[in-house]
Symmetry: C2
Subunit: 443 residues, 2 copies
């Protein structure tokens, strides 16, 4: 476990399509992969979106449904960079989805061929496949492959249950990088489902870099500028049936290089559930699945990150949490890069097993107009949290040139605000409110 992190200098290539993520190499091969196989039922035989070739970037035009449509929601990150002077940490999300059914277990990110693995993605990756191959051992490559896999597996699992198809938009960021936005709207099961990847890079001001880290470390840049790279996958799924909860997840990775060549890196992320009605079994399953993933890495992860989640997703003016939580963490950079990556990978791989069993369980639940109404009221609260408190959304909206459609993709298709809505005592709606007002331990 005595691994150390070795970073090399950034090496810019003449190739304009080259990813400029900081060239880092974490050498801790002695740390064996943690089991996690439980969640790694990876999809096979799914829609072949793109050939993994070095010409990937140039094929963007064909993949994007429209130029204007080429946006993704993980782009609070992209938003960041458009206005580094007012930089704050945006919320990105990372999570590796998997199909619900049992599929072959394979640790792609360590053994598989990059080109082969890319065939399962929703789109060619943001970074040229050739560059990914050349830098296979770098953390930025491992993370980009993880977020692309997460996106693909989750999208495919959702398509399988819905019967619909995701619209895939691929976009470029003028200042460096881009993203892939997958959206399914008004499906059979899902009212609105968005799964987004973004990989962005460029330069930050020192002030922006400081604000990026929640611990606010002071970083020294060369001429005040710090090269950085940020990537993540984020998703919000709003189902139609009020008995199927909304889910959100978000896994992200940052690298910043200081003037003296020191590299700062950290991971952040989380997965949380927002039911309309409390189903204790669902809540227990969701939290237990997350806890098991966390416990493989550190016994304090689940209790700490569960608390952090309840604190973060809090609609202060209502005195309610947004949902029943899950986990949330930020600025994670110890014990070492490889270990944290493995933790993030475990988390990303819990997304499908956390959520899909709940979707299938309630797929045929009947519901009344009143239950639909209560769902719409809760959707209104979701909008309140996202527009008033969410750091990523707030930063993105305040940043000129950011991709609004991506940032606001997390909003539900429909929402409702009733004056003085208060469920009758003893109702299932009141039971839900009670839990939101007093977060519970579910495991």
């Amino acid at each position: 476990m005595a691994s150390t992190i070795v970073f090399f200098s950034v090496k810019k290539t003449a190739q304009t399509t080259t990813r400029r993520c900081l060239k880092g190499l974490a050498h801790s091969p002695s740390v064996s992969l943690l089991p996690g196989g439980r969640w790694s039922s990876r999809g096979t035989g799914v829609r072949f979106m793109s050939q993994g070739t070095a010409a990937g970037r140039s094929r963007r035009g064909a993949l994007a449904l429209s130029a204007a449509a080429a946006v993704t929601a993980a782009t609070a990150v992209a938003g960041f960079l458009a206005n580094a002077d007012h930089f704050q940490r945006a919320e990105m999300a990372t999570s590796v989805p998997q199909t619900a059914e049992k599929k072959k277990k394979k640790d792609y990110e360590d053994e598989g061929d990059i080109v082969e693995r890319c065939k399962d993605f929703m789109s060619v990756p943001v970074t040229d496949i050739k560059v990914l191959q050349e830098r296979k051992q770098e953390m930025s490559t491992k993370m980009e492959m993880l977020i692309m896999e997460t996106q693909a597996e989750f999208c495919k699992a959702l398509q399988e249950v819905d019967g619909g198809t995701f619209k895939v938009d691929r976009w470029d960021r003028k200042e460096g990088g881009g993203g892939i936005s997958c959206v399914m709207q008004d499906g059979k099961v899902f009212e609105k489902a968005g799964v987004n990847v973004s990989v962005v890079f460029g330069n930050l001001t020192e002030e922006a870099a400081k604000q990026m880290r929640s611990r606010g470390k002071v970083l020294k840049g060369k001429d005040g500028k710090l090269p950085f790279c940020a990537m993540g996958v984020s998703s919000v799924i709003h189902p139609k049936n009020p008995h199927i909860p909304t889910v959100h997840f978000n896994y992200r990775y940052f690298e910043i290089e200081e003037a003296d060549g020191t590299k700062q890196w950290w991971f952040g992320g989380g997965t949380d559930l927002t039911p309309v009605y409390i189903d204790k079994e669902d809540a227990h399953h969701f939290h237990k699945t997350l806890k098991e993933a966390c416990d493989q890495h550190h016994p304090q992860y689940y209790p700490d990150f569960k608390k952090w989640c309840d604190r973060y997703f809090f609609v202060r003016h209502r005195g309610e949490t947004r949902g029943i939580g899950g986990i949330f963490f930020d600025d994670l950079d110890s014990p070492n890069q490889e270990q944290v990556f493995k933790f993030v990978k475990s988390c990303a791989r819990t997304v499908v097993p956390c959520y899909l069993p709940i979707v299938y369980k309630h797929l045929s639940d009947s519901f009344t107009a009143e239950e639909k109404d209560w769902q719409q009221v809760r959707r209104g609260r979701y909008v309140e949290f996202n527009l008033v408190y969410d750091r990523g959304v707030k930063f993105g909206l305040a940043t000129p040139g950011s991709r609004i459609e991506s940032i606001l993709m997390s909003l539900p298709l429909t929402a409702r605000w009733e004056y003085m809505h208060e469920p009758p005592k003893g109702s299932r709606e009141a039971e839900m409110l009670e839990v939101l007002r007093n977060p519970k331990e579910w495991v």
Copy 2:
């Protein structure tokens, strides 16, 4: 016109229900009332809500539909005061509504008996009627009567066209003052209609007082505290038919007393229209009515306040105004109190003639599902403005103990967010967007 403002010291009475608004007396009786009769077709014979008696406050229990329901939206003001350390100017609204049909013209606020005038209100006023009678000549009394009349006339005009009835909630503010909230939800014509009055008083910190004024004047308080009084009427009306626009108005008055006895006072307000489709005739009527009211007081009022309105109601991240504007002003304290009050009175009296003719015109317009959909998308934008930019809402939500239901009453009953929604070129939806992206002159 050489009138001056004379303020007397605050005189607290032993009576606990006494209004503690700064005792000010503006003596410019030489300034004759401006015509404005055009708008002053005041309601008669409407529902008798309450006897105007000194015991008004004690009858609150009977009037409020529930204790918790006793909230109003003009309460960004109330919110202010709950946390003076983080004080910012909240948005309050004032506007005197009138019934659409011709009624007897009467300058109640100058000639009528207080008790008689109160009979037409939606509730007993916040301040005891006895106190209002004793301080008939004070600006705070004149303004409280004006906002109560505005609320009553507008509510009655809306009830008349809808056939429904407003729910009237009366609430007390622990620290001083209270409000009256009138809400009609899911009516025949109106999806959600809210008309609110609030009259609040107490003490501000110097920092809070500074932030209250948009010009940020430094005010000196006794031991750092400044007695203040704030009141206003505010309203947002969301109709069901997408051919009937949403309207918002807000008229307010502030008084602050410095340590040396100097009194600061100012008025603010505005009325603006948010159509779903452009109807040039409506836009012209709305702006022309406002311009005529403004022109009676100053030739620069309409052009200046029209620009201010377009600047204020701007959804920056969309690059769109919220609607087609109207007027917006703040911090207005010249040429003198009486003159500004008369201007505000003229504005308040334009609310019904600005809006009701448009409602009646489109009352029977048929509409398609697609038009309803576009309305819902525009409602989403309305929510975005109110939650992300509106100063009153932002301040209110950030203030512990503020009345959330009142602050968020401005939100529509229903709203919609479609990913990458872009109306086809040449459509009426695209025409609307074009106007929002490039505000027009309508008069």
